[in-house]
């Protein structure tokens, strides 16, 4: 049953990065668009994300609930040591969600739209950066777990672990990845004349992702960062990273040829490979502390808890996944399953 729980944990993480990521990315793409393109993007986002964006964000709740039930020691380190970035992340989620609803459900369309749009775009950028920083902090080897915090300064325990060059790089990496996912998604959803906007955005985002990834590694290599040095030593992680580099080629061919399903498949695969590489480098030690690391496979809840959780996840999954698939099929995917406009002309 532990493996069922682990599967759902990683599955929710993957889906959150993929779907939630594309969702954040939509706001980032909108932020970095010209005024005219912003309007087009806003409309497209609403059409594409409207029915599903709530569902996209529930994955993180599932993730966090699985963490606290099955891996309480893990969850404990996150909530105690990363209190500040998690709180900022939460405020971002709150403001972003509210802005999204306000801008689409306000009965009166007037100047307040500017405020909602601004709130939406900025929180779309800031929120994933902080989420990335949280993840970066977990693998940074800077977290200090001590019984008595009073022997250290506030900065040492509660700020430095998440606010350093490495975590900031990971934060920006994640935000760029979100923008990339969203741009690829929007290429397939935009009207034919607007498609080039998103092709260009996808190109820029790809470059930024690769660049930040590269800088992170160079930085980690020269400063002997524990995560990076272990990553380089791990053959699976390296293979995954090489594959993700190689698969950029078919991805771009697919984008150029407007093969929407194929390009999305490769974008999803990219995320899978990146996550796989990041997790496998240290598995099962997903949290790297300053003095040692915490294994995911140790410190787990008692068997009785894992068993019940596994069963509820299987039942929940059996109810939710078909419903979700149907929802995606009914609204978002319909367009993609239909012949492309070029083909139909």
């Amino acid at each position: 049953m532990l493996y069922v729980v682990l599967f759902f944990l990683i599955f929710s993480l993957y889906l959150y990065v993929l779907l939630g990521g594309a969702d954040y990315g939509a706001g980032i793409v909108e932020l970095f668009s010209s005024k005219e393109n912003q309007k087009i993007t806003k409309k497209t986002i609403y059409r594409v994300m409207g029915p599903v964006w709530e569902a996209n964000h529930i994955w993180i709740i599932i993730l966090i609930v699985i963490l606290w039930i099955a891996f309480p020691a893990y969850y404990n380190i996150m909530v105690v040591n990363l209190h500040i970035p998690l709180t900022i992340f939460l405020l971002g989620v709150t403001l972003r969600g509210v802005a999204f609803v306000f801008r689409h459900y306000d009965a009166v369309i007037d100047n307040s739209q500017k405020l909602y749009d601004g709130m939406f775009k900025i929180s779309s950028l800031v929120t994933p950066i902080f989420l990335g920083m949280v993840f970066g902090a977990l693998i940074s080897g800077e977290i200090k777990v001590v019984d008595d915090v009073s022997s250290l300064t506030f900065y040492e325990v509660f700020i430095h672990p998440w606010l350093n060059v490495f975590t900031v790089l990971v934060g920006f990496f994640f935000a760029a990845l979100c923008a990339f996912l969203s741009a690829v998604l929007l290429i397939g959803e935009a009207a034919a004349i607007n498609r080039t906007i998103y092709v260009r955005k996808a190109a820029i985002a790809t470059i930024v992702v690769v660049l930040i990834g590269f800088i992170t590694f160079i930085y980690g290599y020269f400063f002997d960062h524990v995560f990076v040095s272990e990553f380089i030593k791990n053959p699976y992680a390296m293979i995954a990273m090489l594959l993700s580099g190689l698969f950029l080629i078919p991805l771009w061919i697919a984008i150029r040829k407007s093969r929407r399903v194929v390009s999305r498949f490769f974008a999803g695969l990219q995320v899978f490979l990146i996550l796989f590489a990041a997790l496998i480098a240290h598995f099962p030690e997903i949290i790297i502390l300053e003095n040692g690391s915490v294994s995911l496979l140790e410190n787990i809840a008692p068997d009785s808890v894992i068993k019940v959780l596994g069963i509820s996840l299987i039942i929940g999954g059996a109810v939710i996944l078909p419903g979700l698939f149907h929802l995606l099929k009914s609204f978002k995917m319909i367009k993609i399953l239909e012949p492309t406009e070029r083909e139909s002309v």
């Binding site: 409207g50 029915p51 599903v52 709530e54 569902a55 964000h57 529930i58 993180i60 709740i61 599932i62 966090i64 609930v65 699985i66 606290w68 039930i69 099955a70 309480p72 020691a73 969850y75 404990n76 996150m78 909530v79 105690v80 209190h83 998690l86 709180t87 939460l90 405020l91 989620v93 709150t94 403001l95 969600g97 509210v98 999204f100 609803v101 306000f102 459900y105 306000d106 009965a107 009166v108 915090v149 506030f154 325990v157 509660f158 809840a301 008692p302 009785s304 808890v305 019940v308 959780l309 509820s312 996840l313 039942i315 929940g316 109810v319 939710i320 419903g323 929802l327 009914s330 609204f331």
Partner: protein, 433 residues
């Protein structure tokens, strides 16, 4: 301010808001599907306009409820890490099921909001019903988790360790049913009277009388039925608490001295120093009867409990009085509404509408007061008789800043949501149907 106080205030503050959003998001879908049903049956355009307008309300409150709920799922750990470390695995069951129910609700909401003219009519309507049912299920599950804090079960506590954990027994703890029943009825009462009050105000102002009267009737019917049933549930709760948490009952009643044939205090000002209650109305033997069904039963007073195991008596007592007082008013108002169905004349009397306008906020005040009774009344424990709240709080100093941030954000949000609702109603009034 001490960390513990700041953390408690932040938790209370965010919960107070979340409860409002969550209740409306949970109950309004029912109003919406009733109106939708009437539209399908009668093809009266007014019902369609109403359904679509309520649907926007549902969407807005669902999202605000969802994001404040997401924040809470993190806050439990951010503020009370020591509690979650031990309690998380034990009460994980209702939370994971709640996650599932919430997911179903989000999917159904997606179908409903975007399904107009795209989905088959009946299926579309049915997705609305699912929103309501899964919303109520979510609410019940979360309350079950709270019930566990009041009535911890499903484990053995040996030398400070939680052993032999049984998550199902923890979920079906002795408090879950009474609390969930009381809360569900309260949600329907509060939302019913609040929504009805808003529409009553529109009728009073003479705007779209036909539409707003129809809206009023749908909302108040739910509210009135729930308000009339609530005292029964309250009685079950009182008897349950008398058994399980006698100190909480004593605090609710400001009952300091153990006695047989204890009187029931209505109102009164509590002096915690002298342990006296002045200006009260005392009904002889009534407390014994309400708690144990026996006029001469012995009711334990606060003095029978160690001082460091008592909650703040005045807060619990005043909150309890507020809840019961309002509950009684709303129950009578519910009865009055059903009488008014026979008296057509009342509907043209402005006093009738003003009466319901004035009642609009009361349900929510009672609901919040009720939660203050449960939560403050549980103190000093975070897990009754097992873990103290002060031992569960985060070691990170400076929570007070986090508290102020939350206050600023939530107050801004509530102003914004209110403003949005006012705009919604204005547009509704200027539409053609």
């Amino acid at each position: 301010m001490e960390n513990l106080d700041a953390a408690r205030l932040q938790m209370a503050f965010t919960l107070i808001f979340h409860i409002i959003f969550a209740c409306i998001g949970m109950v309004m879908p029912f109003f919406m599907v009733v109106s939708h049903y009437k539209w399908l049956k009668t093809k009266d355009e007014v019902y369609l306009t109403l359904t679509k307008s309520w649907q926007k309300g549902v969407a807005i409150f669902f999202v605000t409820g969802a994001v404040s709920g997401t924040a809470l799922s993190f806050e439990l750990g951010l503020l009370w890490p020591e509690f979650m470390k031990h309690a998380g695995p034990i009460i994980g069951m209702p939370f994971s099921l709640e996650g599932a129910a919430f997911f179903v609700e989000a999917i159904a909401l997606g179908f409903y909001l975007y399904g107009w003219n795209k989905l088959p009519e009946r299926f579309h309507w049915f997705t609305g019903v699912i929103i309501g049912i899964s919303g109520v299920a979510s609410g019940i599950l979360v309350v079950a988790a709270n019930g566990w804090m009041n009535a911890p079960s499903g484990f053995d506590y040996v030398n400070g360790e939680f052993l032999n954990i049984d998550p199902i027994q923890a979920m079906l703890n002795p408090a879950w049913f009474t609390q969930a029943l009381h809360m569900t009825l309260a949600a329907f009462t509060a939302t019913g009277f609040a929504v009805a009050g808003i529409h009553a105000y529109q009728v009073y102002k003479g705007r779209k009388i036909n539409l707003h009267t129809k809206a009023f009737k749908i909302a108040i019917t739910f509210g009135a039925v729930a308000a009339i049933l609530q005292p029964i549930s309250g009685d079950i709760s009182a008897k349950d608490i008398a058994e399980r948490q006698p100190v909480k009952l004593a605090a609710m009643e400001a009952h300091y001295h153990t006695e047989k044939g204890a009187p029931l205090y209505i109102g009164g000002i509590v002096d915690a120093e002298t342990q006296e209650v002045s200006y009260k109305i005392a009904i002889p033997n009534a407390l014994s009867f309400l708690a144990f069904g026996d006029f001469d039963a012995e009711v334990k007073g606060l003095n029978d409990f160690p001082e460091d195991e008592r909650p703040n008596v005045p807060i619990v007592h005043y909150a309890f009085q507020t809840m019961v007082g309002i509950g009684s008013i709303l129950m009578l108002a519910g009865v009055l509404y059903f009488i008014s169905l026979k008296k057509k004349k009342w509907l043209v009397n402005t006093k009738y509408w003003i009466f319901f306008v004035l009642l609009a906020p009361l349900g929510f005040i009672a609901l919040e007061a009720g939660w203050i009774v449960t939560e403050v009344g549980r103190q000093p424990w975070i897990i009754h008789k097992i873990m103290r709240t002060k031992d569960a709080v985060t070691p990170m100093p400076g929570i007070v800043f986090s508290f102020y941030t939350y206050v600023a954000v939530y107050l801004t949000l509530s102003v914004a949501v209110t403003w949005l609702m006012i705009r919604q109603i204005k547009v509704l009034n200027s539409s053609n149907t």
